[in-house]
């Protein structure tokens, strides 16, 4: 248990750090870009919301520590500021867009992690075989392709030229409205195929190569040799002796690579005009909508931290050493 409380403590520190970065960046940025933009907001939102924005961007005569305290208090109350674009609370935008991103990126991540791990086990087991010599360089190449460029190529080939899959938006906006009905769900799934495929292809190589390397290291352990000497079946050695031990470091790298995959997924959303966080982020960039950009940064950070914590939980379940040593 102590292990998990330590991790939670660390995540709280990371969360506080990202909130503090959010507070400091506008104040340290040269040229005071926020002041000019806040001027646009006068008269469009309530004085209270305007005051909150002034605190957020340091256009206030209050001392710095009281601004900082007020900013953190606002965040703790779920007040992420007001988006410039539509003068609506940032939390509204997040509530609308986050489910799309969570569903798309979550599903794609799980698929790519499972597939990549299985492939990694396979190529490590049959090392030097044709499977290994073909897949390794191919996946190395794929891992170096920028997500958004791969997305562009998919949109071009499968979307525009062949017209196999829809490649623009999150669902058929002419036939359905978002809600709990089957038609909408099927439409959303159909629209998610290409973006999800992009994320799976973009991230699968990392899991595969990582799993291959740890699996190869595990295969040269004595207990694997012992299992072979005992005459256990090949599948049993591969799965319960080697793969089970090799997967632990891969879960660690899963947690660490999350931020990277999330970054790639955001760019993927942009290419597909997918109605998620990434698309909202690029619109924020185009409109210089600072509260929106910052709120999205915070919510993405929270999502990554929660996913990291889930990976920690999986680690504890899989590794008895963590449980017994620190429990």
């Amino acid at each position: 248990m102590r292990h998990l409380t330590r991790r939670i403590g660390f995540y709280l520190v990371a969360l506080w750090a990202s909130a503090t970065l959010n507070f400091l960046i506008p104040r340290l940025a040269p040229g005071d870009p926020a002041r000019a933009l806040l001027a646009r907001m006068h008269g469009r939102i309530s004085p209270a919301a305007l005051h909150a924005l002034e605190v957020q961007y340091g256009i206030s005569h209050e001392p710095l520590y009281s601004q900082y305290w007020q900013y953190l208090t606002n965040l703790a109350h779920g007040d992420f500021g007001t988006s410039f674009a539509n003068a609506e609370p940032v939390t509204n935008v997040i509530a609308r867009d986050l489910p799309w991103t969570l569903a798309l990126v979550g599903a794609a991540l799980i698929i790519s992690f499972l597939l990549g791990t299985i492939l990694g086990v396979a190529v490590a087991w049959w090392r030097g075989s044709r499977l290994d010599t073909v897949l390794m360089p191919a996946f190395t190449f794929i891992s170096a392709i920028p997500y958004f460029w791969f997305a562009l190529a998919l949109v071009f080939i499968l979307g525009h030229s062949l017209n196999w899959f829809p490649s623009n938006g999150g669902y058929d906006i002419y036939s359905y409205t978002p809600g709990w009905d089957l038609g909408f769900f099927l439409s959303a799934t159909q629209y998610a195929v290409l973006p999800a495929f992009t994320i799976v292809i973009g991230s699968i190589a990392g899991w595969m190569l990582g799993m291959r390397n740890t699996m190869i290291t595990t295969l040269s352990e004595d207990y694997v040799l012992m299992a072979e000497a005992k005459g256990l079946s090949q599948w049993r050695i591969m799965i319960t002796y080697a793969a089970r031990n090799a997967i632990l470091p891969n879960i660690t790298s899963f947690a660490l690579a999350l931020g990277f995959v999330v970054s790639g997924s955001l760019l993927t959303e942009i290419v597909f005009n997918y109605p998620g966080i990434g698309y909202a982020l690029v619109q924020g960039v185009q409109n210089k909508d600072y509260p929106l950009i910052q709120g999205l940064f915070l919510i993405i950070t929270v999502a990554v931290l929660v996913a990291n914590f889930l990976a920690d939980l999986a680690y504890v379940v899989l590794d008895p050493r963590v449980r017994s040593e620190r429990g």
Binding site: F10, V13, A17, S18, L21, N22, I25, A29, P33, A34, W125, W126, R127, S129, T140, F141, S143, A144, I145, P146, Y147, F148, W149, L152, A153, V155, F156, H160, S161, L209, G210, N213, I216, T217, Q234, M238, L248, P249, T252, S253, L256, L258, G259, V262, S263, L266, L267, I270, L281, G284, V285, Q286, K288, L296, F297, I300, T301, V304, L305, R326
Partner: protein, 313 residues
């Protein structure tokens, strides 16, 4: 945080190259992956240095031949503004390669300093530096880079480089710290300590040379990250839009709907260059991994053993 630090390269496996400089060189030249990767990397480096001298003076100047597909006059076609795509790719190589390499080097230097000091000195300094680098590791880099880049009113390679360094050093620092931890209690370190060598000398002259393979792997990884992230940021329009780089080419291609209009020759070349250069760097990286960690090597005897297994299974 200790329990997390157990990925393959961090497990304290010794990644020390034996056999001296000549042995290392032979290992490099006999490894197909490394050679292939090196040739491509050297090609792009030469292209970045000398290429721009061979194409016209202003590759951004508008031309009359607009959105023309590849032909003998324009080998890679032209953009919607009539600019030659090939000339832009060549000039763009300079921006992308230079930025990727210089950011990679600077971020790695930071990683080396933080990782080695943190791992060797230990104590509260280690605690502070570890938490610091772990926080930066867990914060999603691209959104942070977007926040930074959108608040800084000047656009251009310096800002992108700055943002990429801030977001790119932490992984290396963590790996190098773990390596240092596994080396700090070796005999040669104790010997150096007892002869009264200053700490800075022990860290950078005794310990650092022993893990040069790890440092090189981190450097290559950071360069790949920098090149990919640079392209991503510029694709979002956060770069210098008047300059020419692979990322800004993709931005303009997206901006002018090259995709929907079918101008594949506009967005395929810059993306392909990024992918090929990145893959080449990754190949060198995997090759070095194999040289430094013999267990990863596909030796012939090993092959026979696994073939036998494959038949049985």
């Amino acid at each position: 945080m200790a329990s997390v630090a157990s990925a393959a390269t961090e497990s304290g496996d010794e990644l020390v190259v034996s056999g001296g400089r000549r042995g290392f060189w032979r290992a490099v030249t006999s490894n197909g992956k490394v050679m292939l990767g090196l040739i491509v990397v050297i090609f792009f480096t030469l292209l970045a240095i000398f290429g721009p001298f061979f194409v016209g003076s202003d590759v951004n100047a508008f031309g009359l031949d607009r959105s023309a597909p590849p032909s003998s006059a324009h080998l890679l076609g032209t953009t919607a503004y009539g600019q030659d795509v090939l000339a832009q790719v060549v000039v763009g190589a300079r921006a992308s390669v230079a930025l990727g390499f210089s950011t990679g080097v600077i971020a790695t230097i930071i990683a080396v300093i933080v990782g080695l000091v943190s791992g060797y000195v230990g104590g509260w300094l280690d605690e502070v530096l570890s938490v610091f680098s772990n926080v930066f590791l867990v914060l999603p880099a691209l959104p942070l880079a977007i926040v930074l880049a959108s608040f800084i009113p000047y656009k251009g390679p310096l800002i992108i480089g700055f943002v990429l360094i801030i977001t790119g050093w932490s992984w290396g620092a963590r790996v190098l710290r773990a390596q240092t931890l596994s080396m700090r209690n070796r005999e040669f370190v104790t010997a150096a300590k007892s002869t009264g060598e200053p700490t800075s000398r022990i860290v950078f002259y005794e310990i650092l040379p022993g893990m040069i393979a790890v440092v090189v792997a981190q450097l290559l990884g950071t360069i790949i990250y920098a090149i990919l992230a640079e392209a991503g940021l510029e694709y979002l329009g956060l770069g210098d839009l008047r300059g020419v780089s692979w990322g800004t080419m993709l931005y303009w291609a997206g901006n002018q709907d090259a995709l929907a209009l079918g101008y594949w020759w506009w967005f395929v070349p810059p993306g392909l260059c990024i992918a090929v250069l990145g893959a080449a760097l990754a190949f060198v990286n995997f090759g070095i991994d194999e040289i430094a960690n013999p267990r990863l090597r596909t030796v012939r005897a090993e092959k026979r053993r696994t073939r036998g297994k494959a038949k049985e299974a």
